[in-house]
């Protein structure tokens, strides 16, 4: 008798190889531990390739991220990388923004062409964020080598933004992040990311990380930990919503994935600490750009099959 390597997934309605799913979880968990992103952009398409229906793949991935981000948050908490105050503010903003985004997408769907808008938003956001991060980090890395030069243009811009931010009420210290600002700012930014991620149907880690780095001026390592902390709660919400409204969460699949990804996330957190902040940024930027090109390619190339499943069961 050989040990059974294939397991039947009751909700997905198919069987999968345990080792392959476990390995997939490990790789994605590693990325999530390093960059503080959910990794759904990578996990979902690979699960679909393994024969999991798309809706089940996306929903079970959220369930998996709950476990992985718990493990990742714990690792980052230990390293002192989580700004809980900032995370909660972003989260509250994100939940409010998410509700607005869901309503917005309903209106768009009623008007038709919602998918078109979603995909365009995707490509633009990823291209913009990835491109900006990539060149910004490249410049910073060059500057670190060359002697420092004054940059008057950038100074004016950032001070204008800083003046605006400075006028917001209730200024307070965020000790972990080492910044001082009004809680209104993270609330608003969290809300904006919430709207976007609801429209795009993703966790929002990709947008949230650059927002924390460039607009909230948080150090990269704290950004990663805080992002994971926030993703944890977002994904609990998604898991419960998907379970109740669409019945698309496959718990068995999620559990195997999350054991793999939790292990990966632990290694990722340590690995991320060893890499420099600029290196982390440029790696994440490259990843964002790769995903952007993949989506762009899918938009331009003729699909294999001209039909796609929609909805739950």
């Amino acid at each position: 008798m050989s040990i059974p390597m294939e397991l039947y997934l009751p909700i997905a309605g198919n069987s999968v190889n345990i080792v392959a799913v476990f390995g997939l979880g490990g790789v994605v968990g590693l990325l999530s531990g390093i960059f503080g992103v959910g990794g759904g952009f990578l996990m979902t398409p690979l699960l679909i390739m393994m024969g999991i229906p798309p809706t089940v793949a996306a929903a079970s991935d959220s369930n998996q991220i709950v476990g992985a981000s718990t493990s990742g948050t714990l690792a980052h908490l230990r390293l002192g990388n989580v700004d809980v105050k900032m995370g909660v503010l972003l989260l509250v903003g994100g939940v409010l923004g998410g509700s607005v985004g869901v309503q917005l997408i309903k209106i768009l769907r009623a008007m038709g062409n919602a998918d078109f808008l979603i995909n365009i938003t995707y490509v633009l956001m990823l291209g913009l964020v990835g491109g900006y991060m990539f060149f910004e980090s490249l410049q910073a890395m060059r500057k670190a080598k060359a002697p420092k030069k004054a940059e008057p243009e950038k100074h004016v811009k950032s001070s204008a933004f800083a003046r605006l931010v400075g006028h917001l009420p209730w200024q307070m210290d965020f000790t972990r992040s080492g910044v001082r600002m009004s809680p209104v700012l993270p609330l608003i930014l969290g809300g904006l990311v919430g709207v976007l991620s609801a429209i795009m149907g993703v966790g929002g880690g990709f947008i949230m990380v650059p927002v924390m780095v460039y607009l909230l001026r948080m150090p990269m390592h704290v950004v990663v930990g805080t992002s994971l902390f926030q993703i944890l709660f977002t994904c609990i919400n998604v898991t419960i919503m998907q379970s109740t409204s669409n019945h698309t969460v496959d718990f068995v699949l999620a559990l195997i994935l999350l054991i793999g990804s939790s292990l990966g996330a632990q290694i990722g957190a340590i690995l991320g600490k060893k890499l420099g902040g600029e290196q982390l940024k440029i790696l994440l930027a490259s990843l964002v750009l790769v995903v952007m090109f993949k989506i762009l390619y899918e938009l331009l190339a003729r699909p294999d099959v001209l039909l796609a499943y929609i909805g739950g069961h």
């Binding site: 294939e6 909700i11 718990t70 109740t244 718990f251 999350l258 039909l307 499943y309």
Partner: protein, 249 residues
């Protein structure tokens, strides 16, 4: 008058059925499929007999359902997007055909017994949809999922016994199977005509852990979602703690 009519109808129904049942018969093992935790597809062994000289077509099909799909098209003449919503009706979840010779060699009958005959019965809403383009796409999608298949050669002929010829076949059943009522059919085809047919129901049901989880997910969805989250958190915490003790070295 009414009684005679009923009798006539009964006769009309019973006669051809009786004639055919005498010519085609088969047994299958297993007679029902159970999906347990380690289910990874199975194979159906079918043994039976058809009239001498007839070709055999074996079909495993069933659970017709309505499927909503998005049609992909070009937006602005450049970008591929999900466009119109289409509603297909009478789409079987599974449609597996195994025949002694390729279906196309059986002429028009072969086409009706295979995917060609199947797609003729599928309805599409809105009625203006391009059937000639969409139905092959639907079949292509289902084939890529391993749910639709037309194959030849796995049927082996056996001994002749009077006017009957034995056959046996091993039909692979995909792992992507959902519970429900399916049908196994055997057709005998001779000179481009169906000379006999027989069918048996095939029940597929989940047992054990898959059945328990599916029940929880569909009938107690909120609890399922909450439990899935809690267990994920506990697992994440557990692995985090284990890792800490290992990393301390």
């Amino acid at each position: 008058m009414k009684r005679i009519l009923v009798l006539f109808l009964l006769l009309a129904l019973a006669l051809p059925a009786a004639a055919q049942a005498a010519e085609v018969e088969f047994r299958m093992a297993p007679s029902s499929i159970t999906i347990n935790t380690f289910y990874n597809g199975t194979s159906l062994n079918v043994e039976g007999a058809v009239p001498v000289g007839a070709d055999v077509v074996l079909r495993f099909s069933g659970a017709p359902e309505a499927v909503a799909m998005k049609e992909k098209g070009k937006a602005l003449g450049l970008l591929w997007m999900n466009m119109n919503t289409l509603h297909f009706t009478g789409v079987p979840k599974v449609f597996l055909v195994e025949s002694s010779v390729p279906l196309k060699d059986l002429g028009a009958v072969g086409d009706t017994l295979g995917l060609g005959g199947l797609t003729d019965k599928i309805g599409i809403e809105p009625a203006t949809a391009d059937r000639a383009m969409l139905l092959p796409e639907l079949v292509k999608l289902k084939k890529s999922e391993g749910l639709y298949r037309e194959a030849a050669g796995a049927l082996t002929p056996g001994d002749k016994n009077g006017s009957l010829q034995a056959f046996s076949a091993k039909l692979p059943v995909p792992s992507r199977l959902s519970p429900g009522s399916y049908t196994v059919e055997v057709f005998a085809v001779k000179d481009g005509l169906i000379v006999g047919q027989s069918s048996q129901p095939m029940e597929v049901q989940m047992v054990g852990i898959p059945a328990f989880l599916a029940d929880l997910a569909f009938n107690h969805a909120l609890w399922y979602g909450v439990l899935a989250s809690i267990i994920a958190i506990i697992a994440g915490l557990g692995i985090g703690l284990v890792f800490q003790s290992k990393g301390a070295h």
